[in-house]
């Protein structure tokens, strides 16, 4: 009942629109550079794995993926662990300045990264974290922590209050209640929040690029640098691009059943 006429056609057209540019990238990553430049072919006529081979054997390339994953995972862990108690507090209690604090957090989610690029550079250079995964992980907290609090607050509010009260009557201490009862109850919410933290940290480039120089360059930054220096190695660029899509695709597959409710931030 909740559908409209011609829905199959609309859906198919939209999915094709989404997939076509991605297909083109995948297509190019399997072509030789000669084929890319000389002819227009809809599929690789002389398929080659040379670009992928180069990425997986050259350390300056594959270390980029490791660096990126490192700060993304660090950021996800930090964000979720500080956001969980806060989400509980916002959902259950009223306290001095709670509404203002919530709005302030939310406004940080909306702050443009470009504004923070330069001050972050100064700050993290001053405290000696520049060019470490910690710098990027902490910098990404500025938009991931508020988001995690927002999502988790929705899920905690979905847990009936009576459960807290029963647990405390049964003699559970607060930390024990939190870990033993609350966390398992909102496990799917934590999964969704972690997914979002992973996603926004993985796709962000401006801060990640500004806060790293040699040791921990993210893959996205390595892509831009090598390409401009080597005079447009299209095949290599396409292969690197395809490899950055894969972690995201894997993560989506794991959370596919929660995507819809997760995107509504737990509050439909």
């Amino acid at each position: 009942m909740h559908s409209i006429p011609g829905r199959r056609v609309i859906m198919a057209l939209f999915l094709i629109f989404l997939l076509l540019p991605i297909y083109w990238l995948v297509n190019m990553s399997f072509k030789t550079n000669a084929e890319i430049v000389s002819t227009m072919t809809l599929w690789p006529h002389t398929p080659t794995l040379q670009h992928y081979k180069r990425i997986f054997t050259d350390e300056s390339w594959y270390s980029g993926y490791i660096n990126s994953l490192e700060y993304v995972v660090l950021n996800t862990i930090i964000s979720i662990s500080v956001a969980l108690p806060a989400a509980y507090a916002f959902s259950r209690y009223r306290f001095l300045g709670d509404k203002h604090l919530f709005f302030w957090l939310l406004s940080n989610r909306m702050a443009p990264a470009a504004v923070y690029a330069l001050p972050f550079f100064n700050l993290y250079s001053a405290i000696g974290l520049f060019d470490t995964p910690w710098a990027v992980a902490l910098a990404h907290c500025i938009f991931n922590v508020p988001l995690a609090v927002w999502i988790l607050e929705g899920f905690v509010s979905g847990v009936p209050r009576e459960i807290d009260e029963t647990a405390f009557l049964d003699g559970y201490s607060f930390p024990r209640f939190f870990i033993k009862i609350l966390v398992p109850l909102i496990a799917s919410g934590i999964g969704v929040a972690a997914f979002f933290c992973f996603m926004f940290s993985w796709v962000e480039l401006l801060l990640a690029r500004t806060l790293t120089s040699v040791q921990t360059k993210p893959i996205a930054a390595i892509m831009t640098r090598t390409v401009s220096a080597a005079g447009m190695d299209w095949g290599l660029l396409a292969a690197a691009g395809v490899l950055t899509i894969i972690p995201g695709a894997l993560v989506i597959w794991f959370v596919r059943n929660y995507i819809a409710s997760g995107f509504a931030l737990g509050r439909v």
């Binding site: 909740h2 559908s3 409209i4 199959r8 609309i10 859906m11 939209f14 629109f17 989404l18 076509l20 540019p21 991605i22 083109w24 890319i36 430049v37 227009m40 662990s81 500080v82 108690p85 806060a86 009223r94 306290f95 919530f102 406004s107 940080n108 989610r109 909306m110 702050a111 443009p112 990264a113 470009a114 504004v115 923070y116 690029a117 330069l118 001050p119 100064n122 700050l123 907290c141 996603m199 993985w202 796709v203 962000e204 480039l205 500004t210 996205a220 892509m223 299209w234 660029l237 396409a238 691009g241 995201g248 695709a249 989506i252 596919r256 819809a260 409710s261 509504a264 931030l265 439909v268």
Partner: protein, 324 residues
């Protein structure tokens, strides 16, 4: 749900407060400091008072002209993508298959563009639109449309807008889909008995139920498009000329390109202020919408399942808590 007053809750919030304050307040103080000064390099600073702010808001100066022009472009861009993405997102959400494996497949494909790093999104469209090696550019030129996003302003704009629609419509669609899924089947059955048309069902049931998620969608999309940087930067580099230079691109150009710290800091503050105001408006509307819905739901006895003793309240019909 009535919450209890408990000041100890601050202990639970403290970690979040510290982490965010460390990354938000400290750097912002640096920005405020810079915005009042001028520098000629070598770490020598001169007091400049509100000079930069005056210049920034005066279109006759170089800085002011650039800022206001990029602000105008950015607002126009945000409005255009909202006007396309919101209706399209609703249509796509309504077109979702009802059950079976296709649901999961559609969800995964829809979410795919959201998980691609932003510069790779730029790279995909940079390649896809090129007249020599990209499918889109090649086909358009082959059928006689002179399309080149590197040299033509309008083509560059169209490319950036189509790219954003490609990238973010899924977010709106997924949000709306979540809203639609929360509508109980009973509503549709009631509508069917009343002989409501499809349009009436959409207007009276589906749209009101999507209200809340649509607000979130518009807020997120407006904010993210208002601070867009990476994607247009990779595709057009802000060009041709300055035609696709948005506020963030201008800011990074001044801050990291020219290292004009004072100007960049002043621009940052004004930029942040605009975002803060818009964010506050949305937040207020969202909170009020939540309260209104609650009041409305409570005044409708038909929905008050608690009144009939012994009946467990249906979760989907229970009024939800507001944002705060």
């Amino acid at each position: 749900m009535d919450k209890t007053v408990n000041q100890k809750a601050w202990f639970l919030v403290a970690p979040v407060f510290l982490v965010v304050a460390f990354s938000a307040v400290l750097p912002l103080m640096t920005v405020v400091n810079y915005s009042m000064q001028d520098t000629f390099g070598n770490n020598q600073f001169f007091w400049n008072g509100v000079g930069w702010f005056k210049e920034l808001l005066d279109p006759s100066t170089d800085l002011g002209g650039r800022f206001l022009a990029s602000l105008g472009r950015n607002l126009f861009f945000s409005l255009v993508i909202l006007a396309i993405e919101v209706p399209l997102g609703i249509v796509v959400a309504l077109s979702m298959p009802r059950q079976g494996w296709t649901v999961a497949a559609c969800l995964v494909i829809l979410a795919l563009p959201l998980l691609i790093p932003w510069n790779v999104v730029g790279t995909i469209w940079q390649i896809f639109g090129r007249p020599d090696i990209g499918l889109l550019g090649y086909v358009l030129n082959a059928i006689g449309i002179d399309y080149n996003y590197v040299s033509n302003d309008i083509d560059a704009w169209v490319t950036v807008i189509v790219m954003d629609v490609w990238h973010w419509t899924s977010l709106v669609a997924l949000l709306c889909y979540a809203g639609l899924k929360s509508i109980p089947e009973a509503y549709y059955q009631a509508a069917q008995i009343d002989g409501a048309s499809r349009w009436a069902v959409f207007k009276a049931i589906q749209l009101p139920k999507m209200n809340r998620v649509l607000l979130i969608a518009v807020l997120l999309r407006f904010m993210d498009s208002f601070m867009i940087y990476t994607e247009p930067f990779v595709v057009t580099g802000g060009g041709p000329g300055n035609s696709t230079t948005f506020v963030s691109i201008e800011l990074v150009k001044i801050a990291l390109g020219q290292f004009d710290l004072g100007k960049a800091a002043a621009l940052s503050l004004v930029y942040n202020l605009i975002i803060l105001i818009v964010c506050w408006i949305f937040y207020t509307v969202m909170t009020n919408a939540g309260v209104e819905r609650k009041v409305q739901a409570e005044s409708e006895p038909a929905l008050d399942f608690k009144a009939s003793a012994g009946l467990k309240p249906v979760p989907a019909l229970k009024p939800k808590e507001g944002v705060a």
